[in-house]
Amino acid sequence: MPKITYISHEGKKNTVEVAIGLSVMEGAIQNNIEGIDADCGGSMACATCHVYVPEKWFSKLEKPQDAEQDMIDMAYEPKKNSRLSCQIIVSPELEGIEINTPLKQT
């Protein structure tokens, strides 16, 4: 299973294994990673699973849909490398990916 490192706003790293096919959001929820709320459960309707993806990884991800961009507009402090973690699906190519969680989700 690919390893994902979630890095909190304070810099605390948490590396967990997440099964291929799950989303980065689900990986966080199942492993009790703080900093990702996912209120709507992954329907791209709440922007509370907002994360920042370091440039090196950001470019490897599939481009976000318009609907995801629209939701990111609502997120807490969105940046250029913002994504909704419910829309990032774990694949073998993402082995070792780092995900930065924001200061807060709302």
Binding site: D39, G41, A45, C46, D73, Y76, P78
Partner: protein, 338 residues
Amino acid sequence: MIKTDAIIIGAGPTGLFAVHQLGIIGLKCEVIDNLDRAGGQCIELYPDKPIYDIPGIPECTGGQLTEGLLKQIKPFKNNFHLGQRVEEIKQENNTWIVKTNSGNLFTAPNIIIAGGVGSFEPRKLSLKEAEKFEGKQILYSITNKDIFKNKKLSIFGGGDSALDWALELSKSNEITLIHRRNEFRGAAHTLSEIKKKEKEGKLIVKTPYNLKSIVGDQSMSEIEIEHEDGKVEKIKTDYILSFFGLIMKLGPIADWGLNINNKTIPVNTESFQTNKEGIFAVGDICTYPGKLKLILSGFHEAALAARACFKRARPNETYRFEFTTASKSIHDRLGLKK
């Protein structure tokens, strides 16, 4: 004080179907919701998005589903108490007393919490100094636009609310519309109107910019916005209007003495009762092994919770299971003519 058989907190699809399930077994209920209309997440988050997993309905939008549920519960003539949030729940003998933030009081032997992820609230600006201006010079909703007379307004957001208000207020005010990216999300007609007004100099559009700081100690005089590339601009501003949609907050539910686990309420799967006798939780807000946050699961949960409510509402009667196809008493409750 309104007396009923069950108080339903939350008018989303699960809460609405709970009205139906209570209704066909002959129980009355009152429905309370913080939003000013029924439908919950369906109407607030995805009114126009299609849903494909409602049994028997191959495709419908959140809006259509809400409409259908409201039609389905019409025969039961329940009351809705919208635009108010339940603040307090307390127990008196064997009944519950519920108080809303509008001061309304309800009493019933049963409460069904169908509160989704909590109540919707406007998403606030992330800037620290924003707090002291909130409700004064920073507004998340507009109730009286007369206060803006001769004022300079900075509107933040990229969706319909931001665009619609920018257009409306540009008739009478100096408006700067600020958004974090170049693309706006709005009806095509609205977007072309914005472009037109911008060309005519009746509206200033600043993208891709974010709010950087607010200038002013007691009162705001100016704001600083920052371009994606780091360039900072100052804009004279009397009011910030911020439209970043709604968020869901568990709110007062957390204070009612219920067991809460990760913002959800553990229930048993026989009756969907919580740790408090007579308080049930259904839909997204409840949790149990295997829980799926699906509307269809909420319907099942509401059906079982309603039957459990019967025992407390009619302790001296025996509940008899009946089918809607065959039961004369259900047909009477539905107001069907013979």
